[in-house]
């Protein structure tokens, strides 16, 4: 059932992407050649790019190609879109995956502290910090980090990217150096969102009878919270991480621009400014695919965390 919904969502998403890009007014061939172009060469280009075919036929050939990994060819360079995309997927994936793993590591302790000490100043500070973190755009977080750590302290590079392996040699130090600030700007924002959910999940646990019982038999607050709280909080944390993935991807696109990182986002934006629509279409589809896959995995992971949900529908 979940797989069926997943497949249907993919189809709906691909139709939506295709329609927005292709059915709105504005002709690709004219866009490429410029408005003063000779009508006959525009017509020739349309023919060469296959734009003269009906929308449905074009959609089916695009979608059909995707089933075996063919995203079409760039309107500008003729290069296959998949060749353009695949080396960049890794770059963006590093950013997203590392941030996704680090954010809960920051949010869990801060959220627990905010819940345990919610009536004291420590809790107030933790809550306030996450409230402020929530209000900062990723761009700004990135720029502030650059101002402090690159411009002010000269500890880290202000921008750029090095692959982990360049021409057969490992470059772990440079790789990490270039990733610290971009990842940090993503984590600040993600962890702030997450902290709020962790906090309210733990506050709920603190009010439960089983927590009082654990305290009554002599467990310390922290031990009781750790034993009973974590699993109960895990559900909402996993949900939020799943839902936040699309914001994280978007954040990565922005962060790639702030730090001039040659990832998917950079490719996407340059395709937009060149109006290379087939590339735009392809990359957006890849990103949406990633989001939908993660949503599916999130759904499935509930079953691991909460045995009560096995066999039943979560709604």
């Amino acid at each position: 059932m979940r797989l069926l919904v997943f497949a249907a969502s993919l189809v709906v998403a691909s139709v939506a992407i295709f329609l927005v890009v292709n059915a709105l007014p504005g002709d690709v061939a004219t866009a490429i050649l410029g408005f003063g172009a000779d009508p006959s060469s525009v017509a020739a280009l349309r023919l060469r790019l296959g734009l003269d075919r009906p929308l449905l036929v074009r959609y089916l050939s695009w979608a059909g190609g995707m089933l075996h990994g063919d995203l079409g060819r760039s309107y500008l360079t003729g290069e296959p879109v998949s060749a353009l995309v695949s080396p960049r997927v890794a770059v963006t994936a590093w950013l997203v995956v590392i941030s996704m793993l680090l954010a809960p590591l920051v949010a869990l302790p801060v959220g627990m502290l905010a819940a345990m000490k919610r009536r004291t100043w420590q809790g107030a500070v933790a809550s306030a910090a996450s409230q402020v973190g929530l209000s900062i755009p990723t761009v700004y977080a990135g720029i502030l980090l650059v101002v402090v750590f690159a411009v002010g302290l000269h500890w880290l590079p202000a921008n750029g990217y090095t692959d982990l392996v360049v021409g057969g040699t490992w470059r772990p130090a440079e790789f990490v150096q270039h990733l610290v600030l971009p990842v940090a700007s993503l984590v600040i924002v993600q962890a702030s969102v997450l902290t709020r959910y962790v906090r309210s999940a733990f506050v709920e646990v603190l009010n439960e009878d089983y927590f009082r019982t654990a305290r009554a038999v002599g467990w310390t607050r922290w031990r009781a919270l750790w034993r009973h709280g974590v699993r109960n909080a895990a559900i909402s944390v996993v949900t939020v991480i799943g839902l936040q993935l699309s914001t994280l991807l978007v954040g990565a696109i922005v962060v790639e621009q702030v730090f001039r990182i040659p990832g998917l986002g950079t490719a996407l934006l340059s395709a937009v400014s060149n109006r290379d629509l087939i590339v735009v279409q392809g990359i957006v589809m890849v990103l949406v695919f990633a989001v939908l896959v993660i949503n599916l995995l999130t759904d499935l992971s509930y079953l691991l965390i909460d045995p009560r949900l096995r066999g039943g529908d979560r709604r």
Binding site: V132, P137, V146
Partner: protein, 270 residues
């Protein structure tokens, strides 16, 4: 303590709206006037926050930027409410397969953040204020639909709905006369939160050049421009970011405060 949050939120948001209104009639300098002899002045007098790389007064640009932000946010949130609320009420009142379809559609929409929609629109018809507003608006529909549905489900269990039904009131009348007024407060909270998200999205879009085109000042593009001079004049980048964070913080505090005010039982948990 919590009340304090609400009032801080009200004050922060009111100041942003005030800045937007003031910019309609007065700014310290012309926010479009390039002055090659006045570039990158530090904060002080006569330019309170200094000037940018074109010699334009930063405070003036910030004030006009508030206008763009408020405008884009208002239109985007209205679009989202108009699109999402009827869907949510429909799903909540009818239930069954209607509800399932609405939920699935919102699931798919969740996979399209505002930025991706804006990129698609910008690729298809060129970036503008309108494409940014439409993209942010559409991306915010699922949040409104879900909140409206959840709130409608609660309202539908109330006795006054049963009474209205017993009197033979039509579904349409029930939805407009009974459901909508009773979920309005919850929607207000959502509007406040969505407005904050819209401001963040607008900032990202205009930073990337996917929203309001130059020369109209926007906070996002001010950040972008400031980044060019980050080594020579790093302070410049502080102001537009502060303005964005200020507005979003205000709206979030306002939203949280309103929610607690509506439902004191939630105060502890959230």
């Amino acid at each position: 303590m919590r009340r304090a949050g609400l009032w801080v939120g009200v004050v922060l948001v009111a100041l942003v709206i005030l800045a937007a209104l003031v910019s309609l009639v007065w700014t310290p300098y012309n926010p479009l006037q390039v002055q090659p002899t006045q570039t990158l002045r530090p904060a002080g007098w006569p330019h309170l926050l200094g000037t940018d790389g074109f010699g334009i007064d930063i405070l003036s640009r910030l004030l006009v930027g508030a206008r763009t932000t408020v405008y884009v946010g208002l239109v985007a949130v209205s679009l989202a409410a108009v699109g999402g609320v009827p869907l949510g009420i429909l799903a909540g009142m009818l239930g069954g397969w209607v509800s399932q379809v609405v939920l699935r559609v919102t699931d798919v929409l969740y996979a399209f953040p505002a930025l991706l929609l804006a990129i698609l629109l910008a690729a298809a018809v060129g970036a503008s204020t309108t494409t940014a507003m439409v993209a942010i608006g559409i991306a915010s529909i699922p949040a409104f639909a879900r909140v409206a549905r959840a709130a409608t489900l609660i309202v539908m269990t109330q006795d006054y709905i049963l009474a209205a039904r017993a009197c033979g009131t039509s579904r349409w009348t029930i939805s407009v006369r009974h459901v909508l007024p009773n979920i309005a407060a919850v929607l207000g909270v959502q509007a406040s939160v969505s407005f904050g998200i819209a401001i963040l999205a607008e900032a990202a879009l205009s930073y990337l050049g996917l929203a309001t085109p130059p020369p109209t000042p926007t906070w996002g593009r001010m950040l972008h421009d400031a980044q060019t001079y980050i080594f020579s004049s790093p302070v410049q980048a502080l102001w537009p970011g502060l303005a964005i964070a200020w507005s979003v913080l205000g709206l979030n505090l306002l939203g949280d405060g309103l929610r607690d005010h509506l439902d004191p039982r939630l105060r502890e948990a959230t």
